[in-house]
Amino acid sequence: MYHQPDTLEEALKLLASGPRTVAAGCTDLFPATQARGLSGAVLDITRVAGLRSISRQNGDIRIGAATTWSDILRADFPASFDLLKQAAREVGSVQIQASGTLVGNICNASPAADGVPCLLALDASVEVSSARGRRFVPLGEFITGVRTTVLGDGELATAVLIPRSALSGKSGFLKLGARKYLVISIAMVAARVVVADERISDVAVSVGSCSPVAQRMKALEAILLGCPVEVAVSKVTPELVAANLNPIDDIRADAAYRLTAATTLTRRTLGEILLDTK
């Protein structure tokens, strides 16, 4: 049975009554089946009031679960969100961006999800709602492995929240694939940097497609923090990048290449951001 409720309350009630496939942009659901339609119990959240929205809440930015990549491209965000806009332009195609949602991208939990490294670099947390109430889970804990999340019975990811602290600084995103468009990445890097007095005062770097779940480069961030801008890029070493990653060999590339590429992309992403901050 296909449900398309108008209110969150109704949606959560449906979800509480039994397992359902949650549908929004359907850009992952349909490719997973050869059937002519979605079958079983489907909860379509695209008409739930308030879910397709970008808003400010106590200084944080809240992106509702039905917000599409196209919405993100059109939104008025601070420069620290440039990474997300750059990723939005590279997700699938214009067609996918028009339907696919950012929160759906997270919930699908692919190691190559374009949105995850961006949101990690923005210190995002996920708003998880159920008939029982709401909880907020940091994104790094929300995705637990390849295509698995903490979402339990009756729970719905209703938004991502980016804290006020992540709204400062500049950011960038680089995605590497074997072709220009419509490509699943071999590696990708998202970074956000705050510069004060020509030194890095805050930094977040994350890498996707090089581990089961995209990772923050904690070891590298520790080295970069406080670093003078002009030497920052030179601090990026393969060892520091590798410290938080666990890449695999697959049809797109081998593991060693992924580490090399992640290092190069990290240098370039930081280089471009820092060039901008001068």
Binding site: C26, Q95, R179, L182
Partner: protein, 906 residues
Amino acid sequence: MNRPEPAINFSINGDEIAVPSDRGRRLSEVLRETLGLRGTKVGCDAGDCGACTVLIDGAPVCACLTPMAQVAGRDVVTVEGLSKSGLDRLQQSFLRHGAAQCGICTPGMLMAATALLNENPDPTRAEVEEALSGVLCRCTGYTKIIDAVVDMDRTALPQPAAGASVGARIERLDGVKKVSGAEVYGADLMPDNALLVRAIRSPHHRATFELKDVAEWAKQHGIEVFTAVDIPGDNRFGTIPAFVDQPSLAQHHVRMRGEAVALVAGEPSVIEALDLSAFPIVWTPEPPELDQIQARTSANLLHEARLGNELIAGRVQRGDPGTALANSAYAATLTINTSYVEHAYIEPEAGAAWMEGETLVIQACTQAPAMDRDETARVLGLPRERVRIIPSATGGGFGSKLDLSLQPLIGLVTLKTGRPSRMIYTRAESMMSTTKRHPARMTSTIGCDTEGRITGMVFDGDFNTGAYASWGPTVAIRVPVHASGPYFTLHYHAEARAIHTNGPVSGAFRGFGVPQAAIVQEMLYDELATVVGIDRLKFRHLNALRDGQATVCGQELAGVGIAECLTALENPWRDALERAATANGKGSVLRHGVGIASCWYGCGNTGLPNPSTIRVGIAADGRLKLHQGATDIGQGSNTVVTQFCADALGLPVDAFDLIGPDTALTPDCGKTSASRQTYVTGKAALLAGQSLRKQILQMTNMGETAAFAIEGARLRVSQGTQSRTIELESLAPDQNGYVLSAQETYDPPTSPLDENGQGTPYAVYGYGAQIAEVTVDTELGTVKVTRVTAAHDLGRVVNPMLAEGQVEGGVAQGLGMALMEEYIPGRTENLHDYLIPTTGDMPEIRSIFIECADPEGPMGAKGLGEHVLIPTAPAILNAIRHATGARIDRLPALPHRVLKAIRDAN
């Protein structure tokens, strides 16, 4: 209990409608199946190809990813909505620019472009490239599509006068229905009351299987099941009579993943809901043989009589290459490995079957209607007169749709049930069960003297031909004939073996193995030019085959245009080298390089007959009809063949009505393969036109230069002040209903090759050379091809717009083969893991056409379709080498392989 579905209200192309539908159903299904709006095409059902792009509230979305529930209350526009009052400006621009070839992606392209133009009426090329990046095209290389969006002001191309169409840039004669969305492809056929058919396929590369209680399972579900035991004829098909070996439905064991073992047929709603994984079958997998080198020594023989799993070996031997190489000043050796390459046409196989009296009629996408008829008749135990094949429009073929796919399957269901049937392959099914380009492992040594003249060459290749023969013999024979490239090579030995494995069947793919062989030969030419110290273009020019020189088969050719192609590239080559040197002078992680490679390719079957027959007639009412049996899979034979006939007859192309292809209506024009239609069918059309003209001149006693005009039911023949009129209604019609007609057959004059491969394999060859310019990121190993300059000798350019389209599309496929395409059975059975170039991957392409008339070709014309792909990959690989020193020995040159090769080189 099934409740009636509530109606969903929305607007479609401006009309408010209410459609009862399951709310989770794909919009693409409802548009096509319920509303009959079949202009929206389905290529992948996964958002990978964009063919189903429609506008919802103005935004381009994939209809295959949109559940009906999300359409309620919204405004949907499909391709049909663009031309409510004739073709719109964009559609006309597509027509005038030649932006549609096969046309299957055209509706998606039009909708994506419309969305852009609604927001940005005057976009840049880059903006168009990005806006169209979600729609894949396998034919055009995107160039003309982007041209059509950027330059919508091109006016209608002038119609050439009678007798002057050859050489003119005319629009495709079948173009309007491609840009309007009205063209009927295999999946667009929906006979009333048709059964839906699906196949049960092997999930294993190699296995035995046991069918359980299939009859009971069928009864439970209210469907019919057919297996190998139901096949009334000889359950084998294949393209080459001596090697016919592929079952339509396997019995007891399967030799490849995707092999069909049973069919289910029933009411569409029942078949759709069926869980095929519950089919009562027990598989016993066995260890497969997947590598052609290991298969040569394996005890696992795919076909008992084929020892060493060798299907066939082809060989060409001339002179004494061993001694010649031993005495050469320089010699170089290289081993290259290539991958399976998937044709990746955007139209998965589809079609329908029905009975017309005692005749089984099959309408499906194909490149070879007469072969389909003969093979289907054999499998189904019917005399061939009882099978009629009507090719649907074909949404790309490139060689794979030469083989049977669903024809015997839907034929069986219709024959057994008496009901119409319909089958549409899923993308995965298409990719896993149809043919591929042969993976090859090739080793070659070429020598030259101190001045750079080629002294000798040896070539040895193992080509993975997969589980069944298909066109493996053709590849094994063609490769040794062509592996020298278009160069004078006095001492030569080449052998190519087609080796069976449990991989997918390797068959025909644009070039039949020659593109793989050209890679090793052209890379070796760069090696030799470099050691001798000669410019790489000059080195090729020095060795280019010239008129009167013998080929490696001992054939002396005339009208050889390779030297002229290379000459035409001299200035672009110098400019490209300068551009690269200047860019490299700046010092960067980006390195720029230039590469060059040539091609030659014999048109038509190798040393075997392959006639085409064309009929042209004028009916009593004055209609002029051309029975054109060559399947136009996008390359343009409907237009080109008509151009020849029109000029020979002396009437304009728009005077012709085209009939066919249809095995009941058109004489056999052979298959659309081997770059033969322009040459072979074109020549038959030329002869038929000439013959009809001669008859008319004799009837009217007028001279050679007389002009014809059809005026209603009269044919007026005039010359100077003289004019005579034939009252067509006064003439008696022949058995085909024509009062004036001609039918002519043309078969290329060739001879079989002897045991050393000596003879006249082809009567006509085409030639070409391409320059590729690349930028390599030396830290990431990524390669961007920035420009390709392609010089091709066409003998006579019949239609420059179509010819450019062939070049641009061939370059795209060559680029894909060089840089990204690698089909891995079981891993890349979709269009997001199997990558083909998008708009953003294409270089700027410049075509230069050379006309060295061929004495045998119609008006001097030669083939072009496959030639255009051959030089691209080696030119790119040579450019990577030039840029970085990296020598790629395994294709595709994915970033990690390029980076490793760069590191190995330094």
